[in-house]
Point group: C2
Chain length 342, copies 2
């Protein structure tokens, strides 16, 4: 039984740093693509047997130290009544975006077991099939990041609808974030009840905000979620492009702070202190290089991660065009080169 990941989350001294990859169940694996030939993305998400299959693939094929349930952060929004489409090449899309306070009433606070039960079924199934080999992570998006998708409706460069709303009517937007938080709290608690042994919350768009606005706009609803999960399982917070937010993020009631690749981990540690385990942060495009180059970069990453708990990971999700051998080189190097941080 490999519980390195959980012990590192809790700040315990470990024999070596565990490693996994964000989006490790995904399109870079031919075995995943084979499953996707049969079903579309949302059908896959809603079929626990298939979710279990793709969730286990990186454990069996690449040898990661933790599994993360295959799902999409936007599923709770769909459960709230927002129509969600995945357009090939364009990603997720909400044909009827929520852009003002009046629109919020269109959203419901659903019975989570009824609408998202398939996620909990999948978690139970994965736990059974993992049979203790590695821990299982559940996850969700932060209200701010979920709202970013729901308000923009589709691809966005400037996030003008979201940010414009946040300036024009911060109270109205906070109502939306709070409604999303209401659903997220139950959603994540049920994930834990169904077997998730850690929870990661993804804040992909935190970096759009300066520190003061992060505190005023995004943080209150996020804190409600994190507070509701205290004393359950280890909590991980991930921000993309959040280097300028670290002074704020280090105060979050979580066990692990997961960071992107823009700041070296030793500088992050200096800014954050060592109360928190750090997770990250190899640039995912570095996996488009060669196994030898990847190994060197992992060695440097481990060096930079010393001085506190470190879960080796990428700084963002693994890219679909990543050669599987390079993903394996990353995992192998991490497991071979990391030694006790005690």
């Amino acid at each position: 039984m490999n519980d390195l990941f959980l012990r590192t989350c809790r700040g315990e001294t470990v024999e070596r740093s565990p490693v996994w990859m964000m989006r490790q169940a995904g399109r870079y694996l031919p075995e995943y693509l084979k499953v996707r030939e049969k079903v579309d993305f949302l059908t896959l998400c809603r079929t626990p047997e298939l979710v279990a299959e793709v969730t286990l693939q990186p454990v069996d094929l690449v040898g990661v130290d933790a599994a993360i349930v295959f799902a999409d952060i936007l599923l709770p929004l769909e459960a709230m009544g927002a129509e969600l489409k995945f357009v090939k090449g364009d990603g997720p899309c909400f044909p009827q975006p929520v852009r003002r306070a009046e629109d919020i009433t269109r959203l419901i606070v659903p019975d989570v077991d009824e609408t998202l039960g398939y996620v909990f079924d999948a978690l139970r199934l994965v736990r059974r099939e993992l049979n203790g080999r590695v821990p299982l992570i559940g996850f969700g998006g932060t209200p701010w990041t979920l709202a970013a998708y729901l308000v923009e409706g589709g691809k966005s460069k400037s996030f003008a609808h979201l940010l414009g709303w946040s300036y024009r009517d911060p109270k109205g937007l906070r109502q939306l974030l709070d409604k999303i938080a209401d659903v997220s709290i139950t959603y994540l608690q049920r994930q834990i009840a169904a077997g998730a042994q850690a929870i990661q919350v993804f804040d992909t768009w935190a970096g759009l905000l300066d520190r003061q606005r992060f505190r005023e706009v995004a943080l209150p609803s996020l804190r409600r979620i994190l507070d509701s999960l205290q004393n359950t399982v280890p909590l991980i917070y991930y921000a993309n492009g959040g280097g300028h937010l670290l002074a704020e993020l280090k105060e979050l009631p979580v066990n692990v702070l997961s960071v992107d690749w823009r700041l070296p981990l030793d500088e992050v540690r200096q800014l954050v202190g060592n109360r928190l385990t750090l997770q990250g942060n190899l640039d995912p495009t570095a996996l488009l290089s060669t196994p030898a180059d990847i190994r060197q970069r992992v060695a440097r990453l481990i060096e930079q991660g010393r001085g506190g708990g470190h879960i080796i990971n990428l700084g963002h999700g693994i890219l679909p065009m990543t050669p599987v051998d390079n993903a394996r080189a990353f995992i192998d190097a991490a497991q071979e080169l990391s030694v006790t941080n005690s």
Copy 2:
């Protein structure tokens, strides 16, 4: 004659801080849209009389303290032989992206006067029509940022082609950056000869790199450009998402560092020192709020900008959906509320 902008670039003590807006000649102005009804984007760029017309619009209609010639940073790439298209809604697109060392030979180092003469003609015309009212800025993209567009070919979320290349074959990519720099040097020198009184280089995608990789990959070709322009006119370097690069950026041989909105200007000043004038940095989506709110934010921005030269600007380009009255509120507040920084 209002030369506040140039004096502030040079670090002189001024009566008040000057103000202009990135993309101030653009779609938020009905008068600009009227011009665009007659011609497409590239035709507009290539017609000096129309360029002069839209370049002067924000001077006449909004009252900015500097004009910036209307152009696109990608024009030099087109002059190098890369076919460039503007697809409505999708932005610029290179149907034949440059993705490996062999592709670079497809690019030529053109006679800049022949291929980009329309930009210099426009600068001469604008200078004449401005007749000294406000200074005129010329500009270009950095090799790294131009390459980002040329290598990806179109919209990109992960910049996997560019970044993958940078890891796999850094020498090859640097050849591309150097070839772009060769053309940029002449292009910017000719802009100065044609009347540009300051040069801003845009590094929209600098923030994709960590500090070490910025130094290794992006900086050498950028430095060649900046060095070639020493002792000519004031130089401004703009980075988006570059907060983590400031320790490097403060060493650039420029007069002005232009920053996005993610870090408050007083923190930037602390990290950068006061050799450089700072330019920025109101969040452009703040202009989607109300004039009263904008005025308050400008007051705070001016406060945060004290302690060194400050050119008031946005942290990124003004958005097409910005109400003109809000743009005016920004300019008016900046001009009314800023006082000597001596």
